[in-house]
Amino acid sequence: MAELTYRQAVNAALFQEMARDDRVVLLGEDVASGGVFKTTGGLRERFGPDRVWNTPISEQAIAGAAMGAAMGGLRPIAEIMFADFYATCWDQVANEIAKVRYMTGGQVSLPLVLRGANGSGGLGFGSQHGQSVENWAMCVPGLKIVSPASPAEAFGLLAGAIRDDDPVLVFEHKALYAGKEAVPDGEYTLPLGQARTVRAGHDVTLVGLSITVGTCLAAADELAGQGISAEVVDLRTLVPLDAAAVLGSVARTGRLVVVEENPGQLGWGASVAAIAAQEAFDSLTAPVTRVSGGNVPLPVAASLEAEVDVSAARVVAAAQAVLGHGRERSGIS
């Protein structure tokens, strides 16, 4: 087990997969010189100019070229530097990449990965470089969505995404890049569509994704001090969604708090909450509750940013509130 930062884990997964399969190629702005977030260093030197291509600042060309290359027999990885920039190539992503397999009656598959830095995390990147935008993709059938919460997940899920035969958007969290964790030695991948219970508990289920998994764990620590046992579920991927993992946990705890960094307006937490409300109704002893980023564009000043970002304190408050409900389980007799 080597201890890697999240950033090094991304880099190591790229090395692993490019060494394993010479159809895997990388394109994006500055990727040949290591990239703005320093995730692609050494790849050009190791794999050569045919495998690692710098592009102009042209997100439509980047995403579209990835699509064409996937149709042409490669397995491209395109870096979209900041996930906010999906807005500049959304036609390619939402209208073309997501739909071409279906619209052609299955004539083509697109084994491609679009990856880049996502999220706020209190770094002051503001409204156009600090958003969490998994939601944008989640309302478009045809896109898989991966959001790693730790270095081991960044490694394993990226490798899994590269090996997947469908288009996968990997949202790396920019505030997690420096975090360290032991990552298994040797070839390592994680399957898409399998959530992980990162902490067992029996009073309340906290569901997180990417950076909010850490928020949930911090909240669980604090709740433990108050005698409340919180279970923390890391979704890892939004599509495929491991709804069974959430429903299974809620069946044990009877209470659910969903924690997402993006604005709550139609956030992914709404889908998870609706599934639980409908399919775990008999287990629930309290209203399903959501904690999400503020429904405002993301401000920059630290005091303003902290006001709208999710926090462990807000998760603790939400958990305390659901614990305050006394409804008996209706489905148990």
Partner: protein, 325 residues
């Protein structure tokens, strides 16, 4: 022009003409579900370019793409079934007229978002370059496309990466209902932009199939030999409206009449007669295409719609449409 080759090109154009005429009739009878955009009058570009491509080459077109799919060899019954929403459609009924695709014939799709496929063409060409397959990719688009960002991003990338791709602008002088001259600051939408990407200014009479074949042949050869991309502006005219629902009343009658005299089938026909082909030979080709299409339409109209359960398949590469467990 060699008479036998000319007859072959004429026969192909004639089939495309009759295909679109038949689609127009079916549309007016309310038998086509959704919009259709006919390529009537633009047949020489589809046929001329396809005639210089090899089986392994790639091509991509727009929502006005029936002819480009058929010209590469897509089965006409499957294309017609797709338009009519009947079983056996080339996209299983999930794409319709605007998304006709035939990967086995190298036709990587018709794209309904203006400009979207130019970057995709770059990607196909990029894959061929990396894999050293000597495949050439041809990308057809209209004059209106030259004003959208994806056009400029794709041209720039293709030029910088020296990709084996040929961009063919079908300039029919109208961006939907608007004359292209009203929305460009240069005289020619594609040719006058070529210099911005370090490319030659190439203009061809898009209604002259022999001229198209020659110009496309040179551009495709350059791409195949590693000399990079080309941008070809093929000047043409659509004989009907933007879509089959458009009567095109915004076009001056004398302009339409002038272009009708330059109908690509008429031009080829005249050249063939001048070269000694009997009128009766050409009339037989016309009549056969017309009766073949009428019969094809009858056969396809007898089919049922696709099975409803198929709506839930082929979102993912495992064939399923499941997004959660």
């Amino acid at each position: 022009m060699d008479v036998q080759h000319g007859l072959d090109l004429y026969t192909r154009m004639c089939f495309l003409r009759q295909f679109e005429e038949r689609v127009d009739v079916l549309y007016r009878r309310g038998l086509i579900h959704g919009p259709v955009h006919l390529g009537l009058g633009q047949e020489a570009i589809a046929v001329g370019v396809a005639s210089v491509l090899r089986p392994g080459d790639n091509s991509l077109g727009t929502y006005r793409g029936h002819a480009h799919a058929l010209a590469r060899g897509a089965p006409p019954d499957a294309v017609l079934a797709e338009l009519l929403g009947r079983a056996g459609g080339i996209c299983d009924g999930k794409g319709g007229s605007m998304h006709i695709t035939s990967v086995p014939h190298g036709y990587y799709g018709s794209y309904a978002i203006v400009g979207a496929h130019l970057p995709v063409a770059c990607g196909l060409a990029w894959a061929a370059k990396i894999r050293r397959t000597e495949q050439v990719t041809v990308c057809f688009f209209g004059d209106g496309t030259t004003n959208i960002g994806a056009f400029h991003e794709a041209l720039n990338l293709a030029a910088v990466w020296r990709l084996p791709v040929v961009f063919v602008c079908e300039n029919n002088w109208y961006m939907e209902y608007t004359p292209i001259a009203d929305v460009i600051p240069v005289a020619l939408p594609a040719a006058d932009r070529a210099a911005a990407y370090g490319l030659d200014r190439i203009v061809v009479d898009g209604n002259d199939v022999a001229a198209v074949r020659d110009v496309a042949g040179a551009a495709v050869a350059a791409a195949r030999e590693g000399r990079g991309p080309s941008l070809v502006e093929a000047q043409t005219y659509r004989l009907k409206g933007h879509s089959a629902a458009d009567a095109a009343a915004y076009r001056p009658a004398e302009e339409v009449a002038r272009w009708r005299e330059r109908d690509p089938l008429l031009l080829t026909r005249t050249a063939l007669v001048k070269a000694g082909t009997a009128e009766s030979v050409l009339e037989e080709i016309d009549a056969r295409a017309k009766s073949d299409l009428a019969e094809l339409a009858r056969q396809v109209l007898d089919r049922p719609g696709p099975e409803p359960a198929a709506a839930w398949t082929d979102v993912w590469s495992d064939g399923s449409g499941q997004w959660r467990n």
